[in-house]
């Protein structure tokens, strides 16, 4: 037996997963309150005691951790055109596991700087212009940032012609120059920037967030939690040497404040009569819906879907829905606990959270008629052929109706132009192992993949 400890320092809970890499099995999971304000090791020690109560004493050979504690990795981006380098910067940050708290396009203004000062990002991503293209905007924005007191590291990943000049303008700042996120029109090159962001997270932000005290215990890997989940879902989809993946997939994590969606699929048009518009999206794409969540962001769900639909799905009168939604927003730790009304409402809310978040993540198809006949214009990823959906999040795992909720990720005749999967198998992550398996995958991909395939609960075709 070779026990490995995997830790997820969450914003509320520190979750521990102990695995036996040789036996490819999960030994146990436990959690305790995250104690980042005092000493992060307190919560960790408590979690470990709880874990060892189940498993007996364990001598861990290795230990890896990810973190979204103390606000996670908060980033602000600035690009040139919103749909082009602006979007490339956003995609790069989200894919690096960041929480994007501000997105700017064109030239930064004094008011923007005021906001940025207030937002206090952990990292600022400065981009704009294709290589050899516009330099004016990124240089202006570097100049604007330079008027502030140096507060955070800046990653420069715009027009290469201007990169070094930006660095000079930002004298006294911690500046990292990366290849352009959009070197040519319509070409996305975000991996080098993402790697840099993770390195900064590791070297600098961990300390600033009081996580460094725990590093004595850690072997070496430390990453933002969404980054670990992204690694896990990518491994699950693609497989690794010696073990096949389950193929293209989407994963949905419905939380209390946000809903994260991951897709692992190429998603480009297959038909000859389809024209692709907009920035091509990465195979491994992550989006976060900051207004869609079961408690803190419960109003966002109702606003996006409409109170009529919540009422219709839950079977509760609209007035009662409004009352209960207000109640849940106030009592964010309230679970249904057998209350029939709340159970019905939570199921409706979770279904609509899944529907809204996946619809926003997936691409759309528009039908037009040209002189050459019918033509389709696709924007974003075509996920209609994706056959696997992975779901997690409290409201989905603490109910018997997980599959019914997950179905809302699928294609719906009511939104025929939304390119969501036509039919899919549903995999449920009941014990929150995705982040842990992502951590494990950097060292033991085969074991991590086989454990995921074993531990995730699979349900057959839902249609």
């Amino acid at each position: 037996m070779k026990p490995v400890l995997l830790i997820d320092f969450g914003s509320t809970y520190t979750k521990l997963t102990a695995v036996d890499v040789e036996g490819e099995r999960i030994l146990g999971t436990a959690s305790a309150y995250t104690t980042v304000q005092t000493d992060i090791n307190d919560g960790l020690a408590l979690g470990r005691r709880r874990l060892e109560e189940q498993t007996g004493p364990l001598e861990f050979a290795e230990c890896y951790a990810c973190s979204s504690a103390a606000g996670g990795l908060r980033m602000v981006t600035s690009g040139l055109v919103p749909e082009l380098t602006g979007e490339a910067a956003r995609l790069a940050s989200l894919g690096a596991g960041a929480k994007v708290v501000g997105v700017y396009a064109f030239q930064l203004t004094e008011d923007d700087l005021e906001d940025i000062r207030r937002l206090r990002p952990d990292i600022f991503l400065l981009v704009g212009g294709t290589d050899g293209g516009n330099t004016e905007c990124i240089l202006h924005n570097a100049g604007m940032l330079a008027t502030m007191e140096p507060q955070f590291p800046v990653v420069v990943a715009g027009n290469r012609t201007a990169a070094r000049q930006c660095q000079r303008i930002l004298k006294g700042w911690e500046v990292y120059v990366c290849p352009n996120v959009m070197p040519k029109f319509g070409v996305l090159q975000i991996e080098p920037t993402q790697k840099q962001i993770r390195e900064i997270f590791l070297s600098r932000i961990i300390q600033a967030k009081g996580l460094s005290r725990a590093t004595a215990l850690l072997s070496d890997i430390l990453m933002p939690t969404p980054s670990a989940v992204l690694l896990a879902t990518e491994l699950l989809a693609r497989g690794c040497e010696g073990e096949r993946g389950i193929g293209d997939l989407i994963a949905v994590d419905v939380g209390g404040a946000t809903t994260d969606v991951y897709s692992m699929a190429d998603g480009m048009p297959e038909q000859m009569n389809t024209v692709y518009k907009g920035l091509p999206e990465p195979f491994s794409k992550r989006t976060v819906e900051g207004d869609i969540g079961m408690r803190y962001s419960v109003y966002g769900i109702v606003e996006a879907a409409g109170v009529q639909r919540v009422s219709q799905l839950s079977g509760l009168p609209e007035k009662r829905v409004e009352e209960l939604v207000a109640y849940l927003r106030e009592h964010t730790d309230r679970l249904p606990d057998g209350d029939k009304e709340l159970e019905a409402l939570d199921q409706a809310l979770a279904s609509l959270a899944v529907e809204t978040a996946v619809a926003r993540h997936a691409g759309t198809m528009e039908e037009t008629y040209t002189m050459m006949g019918q033509t389709f214009v696709q924007t974003g990823k075509d996920l209609t052929r994706v056959r696997q959906i992975v779901v997690t999040g409290g409201s989905l795992i603490h109910t018997k109706n997980t599959v019914d909720i997950a179905k809302f990720a699928l294609y719906s005749p009511a939104q025929p132009m939304s390119l969501r999967p036509r039919q899919a198998d549903v995999w449920v992550d009941r014990s929150y192992i995705l982040a842990a398996m992502g951590l494990l995958s950097s060292r033991y991909p085969q074991a991590a993949l086989r454990m995921m395939k074993k531990e995730l609960e699979q349900h057959g075709y839902s249609e």
């Binding site: 055109v81 082009l84 516009n134 040209t370 002189m371 033509t375």
Partner: protein, 144 residues
């Protein structure tokens, strides 16, 4: 010696027009002639030309239209360029830009009134457009 920066063109077929062949020929002809070409392909909206021209710091926009609706599709493009900060960017248009038998001089006049620098009749050799671009962009024969 640093190589002199190539002139950047943004090209594409405007509107609900899917004629892809001429677009590819132009892409190759312009590239061959020493331009750096951002090709947006078919079914391009005015906004897409403008967004690409901003990011790539383009020197000119070359609009193709083959299906006869060019006049409608091009209307307001100059004003949008002005609005987006691309003041004075050369706009060129060519193809079957209007329907029916019309005197091209009249057609050209209308496109110039819309703010286009040049309009080319059907069957124009790419070389003609290249020469026009060289003239507009003051390239004194030093690039290919």
């Amino acid at each position: 010696m640093e190589q002199r920066k190539k002139k950047v063109l943004v090209i594409g077929v405007i509107g609900a027009d899917v004629h892809a062949v001429g677009n590819k020929i132009l892409y190759h002809a312009f590239t061959e002639a020493g331009f750096d070409v951002v090709n947006l392909g078919v079914m391009v909206s005015q906004e897409e030309y403008i967004a690409a021209a901003i990011e790539a710091d383009a020197d000119a926009i070359v609009v193709s239209s083959l299906y006869g609706q060019g006049e409608l599709d091009c209307r307001g493009m100059r004003e949008k360029c002005d609005e987006a900060g691309l003041k004075g960017i050369p706009l060129l248009v060519g193809g079957n830009i209007v329907i029916g038998k019309q005197r091209f001089e009249d057609v050209e006049k209308r496109f110039k009134a819309m703010g286009f620098d040049r309009a080319f009749p059907p069957g124009t050799d790419p070389q003609v457009t290249i020469d026009a671009l060289r003239e507009i962009l003051h390239m004194d024969g030093d690039e290919a």
